[in-house]
């Protein structure tokens, strides 16, 4: 008995001692909850997941960043129209407009204390355009394709020469992909088989961002500590960030409401709506720019290859009902393929009214007076939103004789199914990082038939307008072109837009400084805790 008593006393004494120390740490530490965590610290790595982009955003700097603006609801957002310096102090366009020269900060350091030079920038950009997969694809979106485009002028001067004039080039240098890596450190850990140190950088931090990696337990937690020598912006207020992975949304909510966590993301809309209503937490939702949830139809195969069938569907899709049942008011109802906060958004263009008689007439004209049977598919990875949407859509389609069987597809199979492009009618979404309507249309409606042109829609007319809008610098002509391709997309209606999802985040009342980013990752640099 005495041993037990002694152990108990020891435990009590120790926990009494530990408590104040922990409380002190808590004031400067931010506890963040996510559903799942990063699978890599390197955004260039094969299969780097969504949260890996966030890890990379935290650990690394880029040459450019964006300014900040205040939205109508008072929340803060990055400013799509304003590029501002990060590692680059300034930049100048060449008179012929075919290159840009960056002056780097001379005082910037990597986490190991070595200076950031133009050689590091070149090595990093060379890596991004060479390793293939997602980083190479994203660089290409800004016409950044070949290593010889990246020129070291001197230690602190770096030039990018252009293959063609492209207004997406500079914004593409402010997305999460073109990170600046400590090339000396990375090279030390490269091998003959792995010249870009892919293996090493997956698990290690070679950055110069505002936070260093303290520890990373894949599938459990990631801990960042502030890099006090950071020069690319004002020193962040939060000293330490603990990101815990909590798979259950209910538990993430309970942890927030009990005050055991400061910030949490990855909630289904219903939880967000409840938390916002209760008023105990700060809940901020920003409609994700250039992102649309839509009903897609296969424009290549019967029966949806007939435009009249697609128009009939457009006439009966009950988007308000779907929005209410699936999004609980979080997001925006959309009746145009251009998202609400993307240039060119014009709800007046939508001609389809809820009109069952007209829909039936269109089906009869198309040769389906008695309707037909088909399958309606969605990805169960987003089931809290898609399932109610699918059920309501199924009911609406049944009203005009289109009988659908619901086909739930697992996330792993969803991409494979999209690749095959043989789903007849489905619910899906797409979002583009660069907030230009023609960027969105290039991926989703253009005849290059990317994976995201899920309808396999082909129309040379729309291709021409999309490409012209990309090149156009005159605002008036640009607006006309955008209206032009939007009109075609609405008339041919391979996709019926439903709604725009929110990027929702819930936090304690004493947490401030949250800012929306197009990449939907938390930026710890601006966050504060009182």
């Amino acid at each position: 008995m005495t041993t037990v008593a002694r152990v108990l006393t020891l435990i009590l004494a120790a926990s009494a001692l530990a408590a104040p120390a922990a409380a002190q740490g808590r004031a400067e530490t931010l506890v963040v909850l996510t559903e799942f965590g990063p699978n890599s610290m390197d955004i260039h790595g094969v299969g780097a997941n969504f949260r890996a982009y966030g890890a990379s955003w935290t650990l690394y700097d880029r040459l450019l960043s964006h300014g900040t603006k205040t939205l109508a609801d008072g929340s803060r957002s990055y400013d799509h129209n304003v590029l501002k310096p990060e590692l680059a102090e300034s930049w100048t366009m060449a008179p012929d407009g075919m290159s840009v020269t960056f002056k780097l900060r001379k005082d910037a350091k990597f986490h190991d204390g070595s200076p950031v030079t133009a050689r590091d920038v070149k090595w990093s950009f060379d890596r991004a355009v060479t390793v293939g997969g997602f980083p190479t694809f994203q660089m290409k979106a800004g016409s950044l394709e070949k290593p010889d485009q990246f020129v070291v002028v001197d230690d602190f001067t770096f030039r990018v020469t252009f293959l063609r004039k492209d207004k997406w080039t500079l914004p593409d240098l402010a997305v999460p992909v073109p990170v600046v890596i400590n090339s000396t450190l990375a090279r030390k850990n490269a091998t003959d088989k792995d010249p870009w140190a892919m293996e090493w950088l997956k698990n290690n931090d070679a950055g110069g961002g505002a936070y260093r990696l303290e520890s990373w337990k894949p599938g459990q937690e990631t801990i960042y500590v502030r890099f006090d020598d950071w020069k690319s912006g004002p020193l962040p207020k939060i000293k330490r960030v603990i990101v815990r992975e909590v798979p259950s949304a209910g538990n993430r909510r309970a942890l927030l409401e009990r005050g055991d966590a400061d910030v949490s993301v990855d909630f289904p809309p219903r939880d967000v709506a409840d938390m916002a209503k209760s008023g105990k937490l700060t809940v901020i939702g920003t409609p994700v720019e250039n992102a649309v949830i839509y009903v897609g139809m296969n424009a290549k195969n019967p029966p949806f290859n007939n435009v009249k069938v697609r128009q009939a569907v457009a006439h009966v899709v009950p988007r308000e009902k779907i929005f209410e049942a699936s999004m609980f008011g979080r997001g925006v109802v959309l009746n145009t393929p251009v998202a609400s906060n993307t240039p060119g958004h014009d709800p007046a263009l939508w001609p389809y009214k809820h009109d069952r008689a007209r829909a039936r007439a269109l089906l009869t004209e198309a040769g389906f007076p008695n309707g037909f049977e088909t399958t309606l598919s969605f990805d169960i990875g987003n089931t809290t939103v898609y399932e109610p949407a699918a059920v309501i859509l199924q009911e609406a389609l049944a009203g005009i004789g289109i009988k659908t069987t619901i086909n739930k597809i697992t996330p792993a199979n969803w991409r494979a199914a999209l690749l095959k492009k043989d789903l007849p009618i489905f619910i899906n979404q797409f979002g583009g990082w660069l907030n230009y309507p023609e960027y969105f249309f290039l991926w989703t409606y253009h005849g290059q038939n990317s994976l995201f042109n899920t309808s396999s829609y082909q129309n040379p007319e729309i291709d021409k307008l999309i490409e012209a809008a990309h090149q156009e610098s005159d605002p008036k002509k640009y607006a006309d072109l955008v209206r032009g391709f939007t009109r075609i997309a609405i008339a041919d209606v391979p996709k019926v837009p439903l709604m725009q999802p929110n990027a929702d985040v819930a936090m304690q009342k004493n947490v401030g400084g949250y800012q929306y980013w197009f990449h939907r990752q938390l930026d710890f640099r601006t966050l504060t805790k009182q």
């Binding site: 152990v7 094969v46 997941n49 890996a52 997969g133 997602f134 694809f137 599938g219 459990q220 494979a416």
Partner: protein, 342 residues
């Protein structure tokens, strides 16, 4: 060479398990490939082109023929390399080593808890059939089997953490501000004792309570029922009647004669319950953010991430082989009539 019959039996049993394990390797490999998912498409990320997906497929070796992929897999396996997980980005061997102790610790705690409640409960229910304790046992066992395990888990979290605030946050093995003990066994309860850190032991034990109770509620039902049934059978048997007639004390009759004989089927059942619990872990780990192998395998399965699923199944199969062996050895200890040579 091996003299001890026990060791010889263990050796023979392990050899006999080899074909089974080989079968497991082949079947999990084929089953995984038969699933309709496409890991390359999944891991190409949200902005993938056909070309990007093809590049990833080549990198993952998924463009090779099935026999070729299998040969490579077996070659790596022979070197102790279970491949890489795409979901965590780490080698599967490292992931399993880091996560298996978490699952085992939780399962064992759940099992110990279940046995320490269910065994006395079953015995008492058998000795006093029809009494209030028998009814209590019936109620608990019915509830235990009929409540889905995730539901029990969520209710416990809701009541004891969210409403009452007695239990700590369901944040896995440790709260966000504690550092795990120096890894020896990688079971935090044992390691914190080895490190002599009382506060840490308490922090770990607190986290353990709710998930262990969730598992125990589920496991108690079959153990209590089986104990009761076995005890009833034994108590009605001739040798117990004889022992009673001979005037042996109630304690001797109950423990030495009845319980010892009733334990045999219970031990068999414990083996099965342990396997069930490892399976049930998948759900409990999800609810309590417990970083074990169950949640690991589930994540991997959703992503069609072959290597971790194969590693998980292989690890589980090996675990079952060892478990069955252990149970057979225990038989010999409990009942000398079960000769280990047979």
């Amino acid at each position: 060479m091996v003299r001890s019959p026990l060791l010889r039996m263990i050796g023979r049993r392990l050899l006999a398990a080899a074909p089974g394990l080989i079968g497991v390797v082949v079947v999990t490999f084929l089953l995984n490939r038969a699933l309709p998912g496409d890991p390359a498409a999944f891991f190409a990320g949200p902005a993938a082109t056909q070309q990007a997906i093809a590049e990833i497929r080549t990198k993952l070796g998924l463009d090779r023929s099935l026999p070729e992929q299998f040969a490579l897999y077996v070659r790596d396996l022979a070197r102790g390399d279970l491949g890489h997980s795409l979901t965590t980005g780490q080698p599967v061997t490292a992931d399993l080593l880091a996560r298996l102790p978490a699952s085992l610790e939780l399962t064992l705690c759940g099992l110990v808890l279940a046995v320490s409640v269910a065994l006395p409960l079953g015995i008492l229910a058998a000795t006093r059939p029809g009494s209030w304790i028998d009814h209590l046992a019936r109620l608990l066992t019915t509830a235990g089997v009929s409540l889905p395990i995730f539901f029990t888990g969520l209710v416990l979290v809701y009541v004891f953490y969210y409403l009452l605030g007695w239990a700590p946050a369901p944040l896995g093995r440790l709260d966000a501000f504690s550092t795990p003990p120096r890894p020896v066994t990688r079971m935090f309860l044992i390691d914190s004792v080895l490190a002599g850190d009382g506060a840490l032991f308490w922090a770990t034990a607190r986290q353990m309570i709710l998930p262990a109770v969730t598992l125990a509620l589920f496991a108690m039902a079959p153990i209590a029922r089986m104990t009761r049934a076995a005890m009833l059978g034994v108590l009605a048997s001739d040798f117990v009647r004889t022992a009673r007639a001979a005037g042996l004390s109630r304690h001797t009759v109950m423990v030495t004669y009845a319980l010892r004989n009733a334990l045999l089927p219970v031990i068999t059942l414990l083996g099965m319950v342990f396997s069930f619990l490892l399976g049930a872990n998948v759900v409990v780990e999800k609810v309590f953010a417990w970083p074990g192998i169950g949640s690991y395998a589930l994540e991997a399965l959703i992503a069609s991430d072959y290597a971790p699923v194969q590693g998980f199944v292989l690890a589980m199969a090996s675990l079952y082989v060892l478990l069955n062996l252990l149970i057979d050895v225990l038989y010999g200890v409990i009942d000398a009539r079960v000769r280990i040579e047979t």
